[in-house]
């Protein structure tokens, strides 16, 4: 999982070649790097900055602007808690808090050992099932605080 220099030069170098070192393709380049590493290692941004002669600050700005890009590795399992209006009024916040307590991380965080990443989303279009929690693409509807523990157990 950890990215070391020689490997970065090779992998990121290949991505840059694919885009013909085009500075106009930064977002796509970063997406491809993330595809490779599951996040954007700082060293990869440094490498892109040096090789394309693009300010490091500009890359950091892009990497923090788009929600789809992340600078920290994501866990093996992704838990998404819906906080859309319907889920919200049915107690999604309580569910979220319980998951946070259970995992010991705040929303947006990843547990030690990279097991779970916890995120929130604003409506997944399954309001009738609310509160909804999605783990690795499985929808858990009518979520209750009491059901949180068992749900997490299924994945760990």
């Amino acid at each position: 999982m950890h990215a070391e220099a020689g490997q970065i030069a090779k992998k990121v170098g290949a991505i840059l070649d694919k885009y013909q070192h085009d500075k106009g393709m930064l977002v796509s380049i970063l997406q491809d790097i993330q595809e490779e590493y599951n996040y954007l290692p700082r060293e990869s941004l440094e490498y892109v900055s040096k090789t394309l002669d693009v300010p490091f600050s500009q890359l950091y700005s892009i990497a923090t602007f788009f929600k789809a890009l992340r600078l920290t590795p994501r866990g093996r399992h992704l838990i998404n808690v819906c906080l859309g209006t319907a889920c919200h009024v049915r107690g999604a916040v309580k569910v979220l808090e319980t998951i946070e307590r259970e995992l010991g991380v705040k929303s947006g965080g990843t547990t030690d050992g990279l097991e779970f990443t916890l995120e929130t989303v604003n409506c997944v279009g399954a309001c009738a099932l609310g509160p909804v929690v999605i783990v690795d693409g499985d929808y858990h509807g009518q979520m209750k605080t009491e059901k949180v523990k068992d749900m997490i157990k299924q994945y760990s």
Partner: protein
Amino acid sequence: MVKLTIDGREFQAEEEKTILEVASENGIHIPTLCYHEEVSPYGACRLCMVEVTRKGRKRLVASCLYPVAEGLVVRTETPEVNNIRRTVIELLLARCPDSEVVQEMAHDLGVDKPIFSLEEDNHKCILCALCTRVCQEVVGVSAITLVNRGVDRQMATPFYDFSEVCIGCGSCSFVCPTRAISFEDVGDTRVLTMPHVTMEFKLKKCSKCGKYWAPERQLEYIAKTAGIAPEAFDICPDCRD
């Protein structure tokens, strides 16, 4: 050349100029915070809003970005314009209640109390990006940018760390309209304080008088970009000739 009217007076101006440029060249004051003639306009603060009428249609526009045009009629002070400026400064005051500059400007526009205030993080940065534009366009190193998005937007160095490319010149501080960035030279060190990042730079000592006079990184950078021998900076300007 195009002809336009600003506040009832007729002007001739080159096409690529903005309303703000033509107005200030002719002594018409439009309040601004994020504008500086040395860098490209950005339109962040919205204080420079004016009313333009073109082909019979009235609109409010940011004068720092709006290019002049033939027959354009501009009014810099109307009830709508003042109203919108007041709203803008109210928001800025809510964001940066600690900034004297914002306070004064608000006072001048008739706003004395923020309509609401943020609970925490009351620093002075209005996110106008003037510092980042100066660092990029004038200094040429792009050490800082605006990062994150939405309510988390901040001005910072990459990863909020010491920047390897920052030369400690302080241009960002000089140009900051709300004095959100400052620096201080203490002994042999310059401390540059930004709202969320603090960096230290070693200062160069004059080999004659012993005074610490400029950041080493800045002098190295000048030497490199101007093609001067670094030794040229061994003595400070005061001790030269």
